[in-house]
């Protein structure tokens, strides 16, 4: 009668002194694997400018219509850039096709994963919120 109880206690005690395999989220955050597909973001070049040239290839390839509202414009040196760009995370299925299609490496899936929101509209990223702030990309050295 007492034996099973002691066995259980032994197991418990053994576990108390071994290293835990779980993480203490949210105190502790997990480093993502390099191939993790977070949400798409517009990347910036070393000068802090968006690389996107508004070619709309990502919009064409996106299977779930998550990319929309790309408004092309002409810059002072006749360069083409997006004056508006919307990534709708409500629709995104994190497939990564947009980054495959982009000829400029201007859209990339980052390593973020905390995407839940109380307000749905926050999931619709207009151009500034869709632009990468600092490098949280999966391989920090790719740029």
């Amino acid at each position: 009668m007492i034996m099973p109880f002691l066995k259980g206690l032994a197991t418990t005690l053994r576990m108390v002194f071994t290293k835990p395999i779980t993480q203490q989220y949210p105190e502790e955050r997990r480093e993502m694997y390099p191939r993790w597909r977070g949400h798409p973001e517009l990347t910036i070049d070393p000068d802090g400018r968006r690389r996107c040239v508004a070619c709309t290839l990502c919009l064409v390839v996106c299977p779930s219509n998550a990319i929309k509202g790309i408004v092309p414009a002409e810059g002072p040196e006749h360069e083409k850039y997006p004056a508006a760009f919307v990534i709708d995370l409500q629709r995104c299925i994190f497939c990564g096709l947009c980054q495959e299609a982009c000829p400029q490496a201007a859209i990339k899936l980052n390593n973020l994963y905390e995407l839940a929101q109380y307000d749905k509209s926050l999931l619709i990223l207009e151009i500034d919120r869709a632009t990468q702030k600092e490098s949280k990309l999966r391989t920090p050295d790719w740029l």
Partner: protein, 865 residues
Amino acid sequence: MVNLTIDGRAVQTKKGQTILEACDDLGIFVPRLCYHPALKPIGACRICVVEVKPGPPRPLPACATYVAEGQEVVTASPKLDVIRLELMKLVLINHALECPVCDKGGECELQDLTHAIGVPEVDLAAVKLPPNQDYESQLVERHPDRCVTCGRCIHICRDRVGAMAINFTLRGYFTELTSGAVPLDCEFCGSCIDICPVGALINKQFKYRSRAWEVTKTEMACPFCGGGCTYELHVKDGKVMRVFNGGDKVVLCGRGRFGWPVVEAPDRLKTPLIRQDGQLQEATWDEALDLVAAKFRQITEAAGLGAIYGVGSPRATNEANYLFQKFFRQGLGTNNLDNPGRYTYIRALQGLAAVFGPAQVSGVELDPSRPPAFTSPYPVTDDAKGKGFPFVLGKIDDLPKADVVLVVGADVTPELPPLGWALLEARERDAFKLIVANNRRTKFDRYADLSMRCQPGTERLLVAGIIKALLAAEVTPAIRASGVEEFKESLKKLTLKDVAKKTGVEEAAIKAAADLLAQALAPAIIFGAELLAQDKGQENALALADLFLLVGKPGAPGSALYPVAEKNNTRGVCEVGVLPDFGPGFAPVDKPGAALPEVLALLEKGDAAAPQSLYLLGGDLLRFAPNHKQVEKALKKVPFIVVQDAFLTETAKLAHVVLPVAVHAEQEGTFISSDGTLGYLPRALSANGVKPDCLIIHEIASRMGYSIPTGGPANIFKDLAKAMPLWAGLAPKGSEPRADFGKDLSGQLVPFDLDVSLPGRRPLTLLVGKSLQHSGSFTTHHPCGALTVTPRAELGMNPDDAQGLGLTEGDAAKVTSSQGEISVPITLNPDLPPGLVFLPEHFADPAANALTLNSNLVRVTISKG
């Protein structure tokens, strides 16, 4: 037919075809880069090479080799693949490859070809050339680093447009497209843009606005001039992106291709306006329409049904104009209506009708089955016979078949560009002869075999001289002609010497012209609105009709008269019966109403018989009538004016109610072009609060208790076409069916006025005419592409005249005539002879018609100022 084998397949092809054309007909794909169906073979790229037996021991270009009996053609073989791949690599060395930002991406022939041929990589190297982009030129942007040196743009500009504005410089790998000097100085037709297989020539209006695949394409008739071109309107998110003309015929003129932003002009009216306390105030549609109906009713009750006078519009659709005349004829029961063509095109019709008789159609019968939308319910049968003046009017597609063309009083390209393109096509035949008689040097003098420069306003006398020379040579008319003796009598006193003295054209030239016309197998005569706008414009048309009766061969295709109907529907508005004396299809009416100039004169005098109200369907009377001052005075006396227009024109500013209308592709409908073809305008844009003309007329009519057909333009067309046996066989995009009619032509030589004096003593003659970039006043609203090229009115003047007056380019000149005075900057133009100055008619300020009286010619004094 020619029998040959292609890829082992025995086939039959048409004679005179190239191997490439034959392959296209048979559905055999041969890669190509420089070939384009609108051009003659260029043979620059050699990608279309095929093996031909019998033939030289090397592959031949399919686009420049003609099919021959017994030929054996191989279009695909390992050898050809290697050649094509190598050639593609050469094309792609240092190609910019900026497809993501290149507007051609997605419709680029080089992209397609790279895929089709499967170029894996370019393992060749060459020095990199500077990109040399041209961002300066108006409307066209050039990227030489994307050019594949196919030569299409050069060929279209030279052979089809006739501008010769661009060419290659340097050789081999260094070949580069150039316009001589940056920036481009040309006709700005944009044809080179649409024919360029790559993104080397870019439409600035389209640049970066949309990708090629994002647009919705609608084919529509051009709503600017009477040329009857069709093109694709590309629309994205309800906004026009560009006008594009791919396909077999790429050429359009600048106003057609770049004029569409008139739709987006910020000065367009958005709501109806009603005059309250002397000011035009915004109102709702119901308020405005109720007011119009109530006022119209009040006026007709007080002053009779004829108290409302209607002016139709050469811009509005056939359907709108038809409803408009129905409103007057069936609703009000009056024939008091007319259209602005009165000052030009109607004069041509009247002149022709005097000689060739009224329009008569026989042998066509109503088809009981339901024809498709916008198609005439009268099929053309073998018994169909046409008589009278509509049957001497020519079709532009046939013009290249004429062998002698006489151009009188027309700067062809600004008047009606397609006539010019047809002349260029005709020139490709050796037997073709062109006679140009103008008061100044125009574009087509360059191509003329005989170029006559006559004094302004003496064109009719010159024609009389030609007729006199023909009669002296005992020419017998091919058409049955009566009245020959009386006619000869009327010209008895005229001598060629006199004509030569007064017109300034040498006797020998007049005789030469007469000779050419007498010997012609298919002579055609082109005359412009410029000739018709003279005060004796109708006499001018009469003279030319007489001439055609003498020399014309109406049985031969292309042999016809080509008067210019300047606006998209100038001819249509007349044919559907917006005339005081004729109903739809030129059916005479019982009690003809008054013509527009008479009514304006009555109004100006304050005559009791003058109408109490004007209903203007578009048409800025103040801008197009040749006597600005009188018209202004007349309009100010009208108690109630209703204007339907897209803009607050000067006439609209005097109106009591202004109703904003839909323009361009905001409405559905049809036009009749200058050559009688039916253009279909589908609705491709939303109307944003304004209404199409048809709907407005309908709403006014129903508020007044008249029943008028409705159910949209297709229904109105059905009603209209039923009344028009003249339109038998007419269908959108169909060829002009009147050409298929059996023609039973006869005519009467009618003497015409030989007095060509121009009143007044002032030293210079002012000619008010057309500018290449504009069509009426429609294109003078920002941000219309036409305005980037011709932004304002400038007075053209011979450099010697200018020097004599102490004026240089850009100086302001004070121009005074007996009618008024304006100030305008001058531009030096050596094409104008001394003594002649030229002012375009399109602009409101300075208004050219402030100087003129009943004519586009007026004597003026010019001073610095």
